[in-house]
């Protein structure tokens, strides 16, 4: 696994690079702004670019915009956006339009190296990863409460993991249940939410998102 990291904070940049290196990920280069990121990706051709959403000069969505440019130039590049605070609306829009090989996680989530590696693997192989906070935020929306109220506790958990881009196997492992049980849960969820089942995992997330965004 080969990655490029872009973050304006030297502390975070270095900390993340150290952690990934320790975990056996090859960190090819570090960029401190969007421009540097685009150049480095062109140069090193990584599997995944890890990009801080807020970067100079305006500290709004420079990182995300750079990610869009990168996606155009390198369709196979996996992109993992990171942010310190929740940016649900912007990110869900992005996820709906560019779901393939796309991930978004809060930074405090990636201090757990297991989550970080899982997300990198998923994104690198074209999967979609969304931070549970984003999913939870959307699930918490009032107008959805009624329909979601039909879901059981376990089904909600499964839905959240689905939204995070986990495969059925991964969900089964995470919840320590049988694969068959997971499949049953998903079938029930999709039925309760009036969605048609599809085999493709990230399309499944998309469907969930599309429904969540109304």
């Amino acid at each position: 696994m080969r990655v490029v990291i872009a973050d304006d904070s030297g502390l975070i940049r270095q900390g993340l690079a150290n952690l990934l290196t320790e975990a056996g990920v090859e960190v090819l280069a570090l960029a401190e702004d969007a421009e540097g990121l685009v150049a480095l990706v062109g140069e090193h051709r990584p599997d995944v670019a890890i990009v801080d959403i807020r970067m100079p000069p305006t500290y709004t969505h420079e990182g995300a915009r750079a990610a869009l440019d990168l996606r155009e130039a390198h369709p196979d590049l996996g992109i993992l956006l990171l942010s310190q605070s929740l940016e649900s609306r912007f990110v869900t829009d992005l996820a709906r339009r560019h779901a393939r090989g796309f991930g978004y996680l809060l930074k405090d989530r990636v201090t757990d190296v297991r989550v970080l590696l899982e997300a990198l693997t998923s994104v690198a192989s074209g999967g979609t990863v969304l931070d549970p906070e984003v999913v939870g935020h959307l699930l918490g929306r009032n107008e959805l409460a009624e329909q979601l109220g039909r879901l059981s506790e376990r089904e909600r958990e499964v839905l959240e993991l689905m939204a995070q881009g986990l495969s059925n196997r991964a969900i089964a492992d995470r919840l320590v249940i049988e694969m068959k049980t997971v499949e049953t849960h998903i079938a029930r969820i999709l039925t309760k939410l009036d969605l048609h089942q599809t085999p493709d995992e990230h399309r499944r997330v998309l469907a969930v998102l599309a429904w969540l965004r109304g």
């Binding site: 904070s9 502390l11 975070i12 270095q14 900390g15 993340l16 150290n18 952690l19 290196t21 320790e22 975990a23 807020r54 310190q84 605070s85 930074k107 405090d108 201090t111 757990d112 190296v113």
Partner: protein
């Protein structure tokens, strides 16, 4: 360029000297006991009045508008009157009757003086034809002017050759009389008729002009109408005067007669107070009619008194008194009646406008839309109402009023309560003013409502600014957290996690040591941030403790004079925010060497003061001071900022209840 001024000065000088000479000659004749040869004091004074007025009007018009013929025509008229009619006549009298043969050419003087009145006709006709814009109404009317001038010239020129006996100067034989004089007499008489006809036609031209005119031109012509209205009064007065043989009354009547027309023509030409002419005309008419009515009332009562008096023996004094009382009693109501009926007949628009406003005021009570009402009444959709507030004008909704072109003020109890802006091409100031004055009370109420609306708007704006300030404050805190503690802690987590993944004990020990240091830094960051939000020292020790803290950490020396006691927490917090911001401003922007901070309590108020010795230049309307002001005003206090080369002083007064 100034040539016309020289000519004007010479003409006016000559005419005035001639008038003076005439007076001196008369005075001399009277002093040598030949008063029978003089013009007579009443006639002379009338002449002087008329001349002076004509000369003055002519001079003013010629001075202001040298190319306008009417000014010069007046001067010519005055000249023909005083030089030919006055001095010439005096000369002829002197050399024919006072001392025959003492001066040369007695016959010629007599002949010329005898025709002196002829130029008056064409001159008057021209004045009437050319008032007010200096142009003829149409080419046809130009013909009238020519006809008048030619017939006048012919009559004047052939006069000396046919006149026979010139009796007014004793018996003077005309030496120039020609053999075919009777034929010339026919021509001369015909010319005089033509001249008179032309004068009448010129009068008609004024009427035609008035009927065709609109707007401003009509208003200019109205000045002539103003002059015509009281003329009958003077004429009647003159008859009464001659019947009573009262010199004073004669003088009054004839002076009025010879004064009003030139003055009115002059005002008309000069566009003097064009928008008041309606009012002047109405007033003139009202008072002329009122005079007639009052005199009639007086006369009727006196006559009745005399009739009854002879029967019951009451004296004439009693009936005169009764007449005066009766006249006084009917004066006020009569004026109202005349005014209303005149308005209804001649100033229909103003009358209707007032009717609409009266009806509107009677119909609605609270929350009346005065702007709409006036717009309807005066048929001017661009009309605006603005009220005075402090040193500005505000619209009825309390917002700042736009600038207006033409406007009138409405006053109540000698105080301006509103300003009505209007379009002068649609309505005149007098009508607007008189109509709006009817609603002065409602306008005063409107002013109060606008004042309240303006205050509310100010409060709303202040709230918006406070909300914005709060938002940017929160944004700043979020950024501080993002860039400070949050980042340190994230880095710490990464560090610890990578050491854990690495697994080497030395590496882990090093990571734990570094991690503890990072965690301490993060805690310190968080404490500072929390302190900025609401200093613990403020909660624990009040303003003096919190300010002590500030002074200890200030890069610029801060001298404190702060009352030690505790205050209401809300008040303490407001004071803290204001003082804190003022101190930070002084530290950051003033380049000061020292900052003085004072907090004292006085008469139920908390006085805050932050003074620095920096270079001044604080902008009272900048966002910083504006925010401070909003805070202070929200607490019902007052903020003053004085800034200059010797430093800036910010002072706030906050009510503190006790």
């Amino acid at each position: 360029m100034k040539a016309h001024r020289l000519v004007l000065g010479a003409v006016v000088g000559t005419e005035l000297s001639a008038l003076a000479g005439l007076g001196l000659a008369d005075a001399y004749l009277a002093s040598v006991g030949r008063a029978d040869l003089t013009t007579g004091i009443a006639v002379y004074l009338t002449l002087v009045t008329g001349m002076v007025v004509a000369i003055a009007v002519g001079a003013v018009v010629a001075l202001r508008q040298p190319s306008h013929p009417v000014g010069w025509l007046f001067l010519a008229l005055a000249g023909s009157l005083v030089l030919v009619g006055g001095l010439g006549d005096e000369y002829a009298v002197w050399t024919n009757r006072y001392r025959p043969g003492s001066l040369p050419g007695p016959e010629i003087a007599a002949v010329i003086s005898d025709s002196s009145w002829i130029p008056w006709f064409p001159l008057l006709a021209l004045i009437l034809l050319l008032t007010p814009d200096g142009r003829h109404l149409s080419p046809r009317w130009r013909g009238v002017a020519w006809l008048s001038a030619v017939s006048g010239s012919v009559a004047f020129l052939i006069g000396p050759f046919w006149r026979e006996d010139l009796d007014s100067y004793g018996h003077v034989d005309n030496p120039w009389r020609v053999p075919f004089a009777p034929a010339l007499e026919v021509v001369g008489t015909l010319c005089v008729y033509v001249m008179a006809a032309c004068l009448v036609a010129a009068g008609v031209s004024v009427i035609v002009r008035f009927r065709r005119s609109r707007g401003d031109e009509r208003r200019r012509l109205l000045w002539l109408v103003v002059a015509l209205v009281p003329l009958p009064l003077f004429v009647v007065g003159a008859f009464v005067a001659s019947a009573l043989e009262s010199d004073v009354l004669t003088l009054f009547a004839s002076a009025g007669f010879v004064t009003v027309i030139p003055v009115a023509a002059g005002l008309s030409v000069l566009r003097y107070r064009l928008y008041d002419v309606d009012r002047v005309l109405t007033a003139t008419t009202v008072y002329s009619l009122l005079t007639v009515a009052l005199v009639a009332t007086y006369a009727a009562v006196v006559w009745l008194g005399a009739e009854l008096g002879t029967r019951w023996g009451a004296g004439p004094a009693i009936s005169a008194t009764a007449g005066a009382i009766a006249a006084a009693a009917v004066a006020a109501p009569l004026r109202r009646v005349i005014q209303t009926s005149l308005d209804r007949r001649f100033n229909r628009r103003a009358y209707d406008a007032r009717q609409v406003v009266r009806a509107g005021l009677a119909e609605e009570d609270a929350g009346i839309d005065l702007t709409g009402l006036f717009r309807r009444a005066l048929a001017d959709d661009s009309l605006t109402v603005a009220y005075p507030a402090d040193d500005a004008w505000v619209s009825p909704d309390g917002s700042a009023a736009p600038e207006t072109g033409a406007a009138v003020s409405v006053t109540r109890h000698r105080r301006v309560v509103a300003r009505i802006g209007f379009d002068p091409s649609r309505i005149d100031a007098t009508t607007v003013s008189r109509t709006a004055t009817l609603a002065a009370t409602e306008l005063d109420n409107g002013r109060l409502r606008a004042e309240v609306a303006r205050r509310l708007e100010e409060i709303a704006a202040s709230r918006r600014r406070l909300a914005n300030a709060q938002r940017s404050e929160r944004r700043r805190i979020e950024r501080d957290l993002h860039d400070g503690a949050q980042q340190s802690l994230l880095a710490l987590a990464f560090e610890l996690q990578s050491a854990q993944v690495n697994g080497d004990p030395d590496r882990m020990r090093a990571a734990l040591a570094a991690g503890a240091a990072t965690a301490r830094d993060a805690v310190r960051d968080l404490r500072e941030l929390a302190n900025g939000l609401h200093p613990a020292a403020l909660a624990d020790g009040g303003l003096s403790a919190a300010l002590d803290d500030v002074a200890r950490h200030s890069p610029v020396p801060v001298r404190l004079d702060v009352l030690p006691e505790r205050l209401d927490p809300g008040l303490e917090f407001t004071a803290w925010l204001v003082l804190g911001e003022a101190i930070v401003n002084a530290q950051k922007h003033a380049g000061a060497n020292a900052i003085d901070v004072g907090v004292v309590r006085q008469n139920g108020h908390l006085l805050l003061r932050v003074a620095d010795d920096g270079h001044g230049g604080a902008s009272p309307d900048g966002p910083g001071l504006r925010g401070m002001r909003d805070r202070v005003e929200t607490a019902r206090g007052e903020l003053t900022v004085s800034t200059g080369p010797t430093g800036t002083t910010v002072e706030a007064v906050l009510p503190c209840g006790s």
